[in-house]
Amino acid sequence: MSVTAQAAAPRRLARSRFTFDRLEVLGPLFIIPAILYVVVLVGLPFLLALYYSVSAYSIFNPSYTFVGLKNFREVIDSEIFRRTLANTLIFTISAQIIGLLLGKIGAMLLMQEFPGRRLARALIVLPWAVPVSLATLAWVWMFDSLYSVINWTLLAAGLIDPAHRPQWLGQEDLAMIAVATVHAWRLFPFGVVIFLAGFTSVPQDVLDAATIDGAGFWRRNYQIILPIIAPIIMIAVIFGTVFTFTDLSVVYLLTKGGPINSTQVLGSLAFQVGILSGDVAHGAAICLFLFPFLLVAVILLLRSLRRREI
């Protein structure tokens, strides 16, 4: 009897115990850090840059006088800026192509079975994981005018004339090759990882089917594997482009933009003008030239990505 009496009033479970099971609580909780990050560290600086770029602000004369597009006009008119813009494009495109191409080859090698493959796969990430300043310092020595191991090797191999050893960081053409090489070297592990992920995502059945259908190495690669992993590579290209286009560390650490601005890129120029020289307004204007380029690149790539999926 007492049992039936109790059953008549079912116990209500404490709601508070399951607060975090509720989507309307948990969802915002998870998204807030991301929103904060974007607003504080991306949104605010961007708005500040917009603001500075149309003012006459410098650290010596912190005036917020509105000057319209004067800063932009002056920047575009400057010889250095135009050279920098071209450098940035060359730097980005060549580092991208070399890095991803080597990444693809590296990934193909790492797909093969060989003793020590796991170790090799682990070591390949190093250029990506090592702090850029440390890694670039090592490269500075490798490119050094007197102590360059690259030159020593070339000399020993009889490929260069001791009287005319290349000044990797001192000649305009070679300096660009040097910075692009170092950046490609940094992108390489990223390319390897992306291509490895792509290759392993292609079903073995599909590859076997292609083999039986008579596709050789090249046809399998360019008519089957690459189109299948294209969306993954697109992401690598977007990421790599943004990463390279905005990078100033390699250039700054290796050449500081020299010689004679031959390796100056948008990032390093903006840093030099805006921070080192204190001309915040012109620095901000230079920086903002990154924006349309990146916007166009990302839109183009995202569109091609979506076309792939349909």
Partner: protein, 345 residues
């Protein structure tokens, strides 16, 4: 003429023998089913024939030519994979055309052959779709069309029905068989499903642990299993095996019937203790034990459901019997002993 012959084929992975000396010849135009539990080496066998793997030793002949070191594309075999292996970025038409393109077939011929294969499999209306827009059954047809389109010497099918749902599988089974009879291409079909094997195979090759246990027509395999493995692998439930005179005695559940249902002929009476019964609609499975016999597994009897169960109740003994002609004997190692009477036949 034999389309495919393998001689003492061995394949070793590390220290595991996936195939341990298999010899088999597949006749021209035949539908041969390789049947075995998972991990028995049947897929490895198929991949060696296709040229996707190289055997450790032994010879492989296709159309009387040794093809041990011939590349897959030169062997003229076509393969349909378990998950079909369709190219996800190509339309159905381009999927089917792919093997022709690799051969450098002229463009008008490609179009003609693709249309022909698509028509034969009833997928003409799907030619412009991508694989992901197709159902499982449609994908399977595309895979078949792609295999068919270049007139292969041999079709290799690796469990092509296992990704279909049960209902579709039954209809796909008979369609596939009809299709094979129509094109008349030698076919090697790998499966672990005995229903597929029995229903489709001209002959069945039973493989276990990399060894060929028996090759024969479905009725040979079912009625005259060569050893205790084949006997217990086929049939649901499988053959009853009990210890008998230093060997094994076997009989199929459907031949193990209440004594009163059998008349005439020579019988062996076996008292059967029924432990439980399963009603399956068209039949009843009775589980239990025999008096005086040691069995490896529970003894089962399969009765048509329309037979009245007079006096048969769970937990009670009932007099059951098997016709002597249906008894099978195996020696201590499980190999079939052929009775003198059978040999005379």
């Amino acid at each position: 003429m034999a389309a495919v012959v393998v001689k003492d084929l061995r394949k070793v992975f590390g220290d595991v023998a996936a195939l341990d000396g298999v010899s088999l010849s597949v006749r021209d135009g035949e539908f041969l089913v390789l049947l075995g539990p998972s991990g028995c080496g049947k897929t490895t066998f198929l991949r060696i024939i296709a040229g996707l793997e190289r055997q450790t030793s032994g010879d492989l002949l296709i159309n009387d030519e040794i093809v041990n070191d011939i590349t897959p594309r030169a062997r003229g075999v076509a393969m349909v994979f378990q998950s079909y292996g369709l190219y996800p970025h190509l339309t159905v038409a381009n999927n089917i055309a792919f093997p022709l393109r690799t051969q450098g077939t002229p463009r008008p011929d490609i179009k003609r052959k693709v249309d022909w294969a698509a028509g034969l499999l009833g997928i003409d209306h799907l030619l412009h779709r991508h694989p992901r827009q197709l159902s499982g059954g449609e994908r399977q047809r595309v895979a078949l069309a792609r295999a068919l389109v270049r007139n292969p010497t041999v079709f290799l099918l690796d469990e092509p029905l296992s990704n279909l749902d049960a209902k579709l599988r039954a209809s796909a089974r008979s369609e596939l068989k009809q299709f094979q009879q129509k094109v008349g291409t030698t076919t090697i079909y790998v499966t672990h499903d005995q229903v597929e094997a029995m229903g489709m195979g001209d002959r069945i090759a039973v493989i276990d642990h990399g060894k060929l246990r028996q090759v024969g027509t479905p009725s040979e395999i079912y009625d005259h299993p060569a050893d205790d493995f084949v006997a217990s692998f086929l049939g649901t439930p499988p053959m009853n095996l009990v210890e008998h005179n230093d060997g094994l005695l076997g009989f199929r559940p459907e031949h193990f019937l209440p004594r009163e249902m059998l008349d005439g002929a020579a019988l062996s009476e076996l008292p059967f203790r029924i432990d439980r019964m399963e009603y399956l609609g068209s039949e009843r499975i009775l589980y239990g034990a025999l008096d005086g016999f040691q069995a490896k597994r529970e003894i089962t009897a399969k009765l048509p459901a329309h037979v009245p169960l007079s006096g048969i109740r769970a937990g009670e003994w009932h007099k059951f019997a098997v016709r002597n002609a249906e008894l099978r004997y195996f020696d201590r190692d499980g190999r079939r002993i052929v009775s003198p009477k059978e040999q005379a036949r």
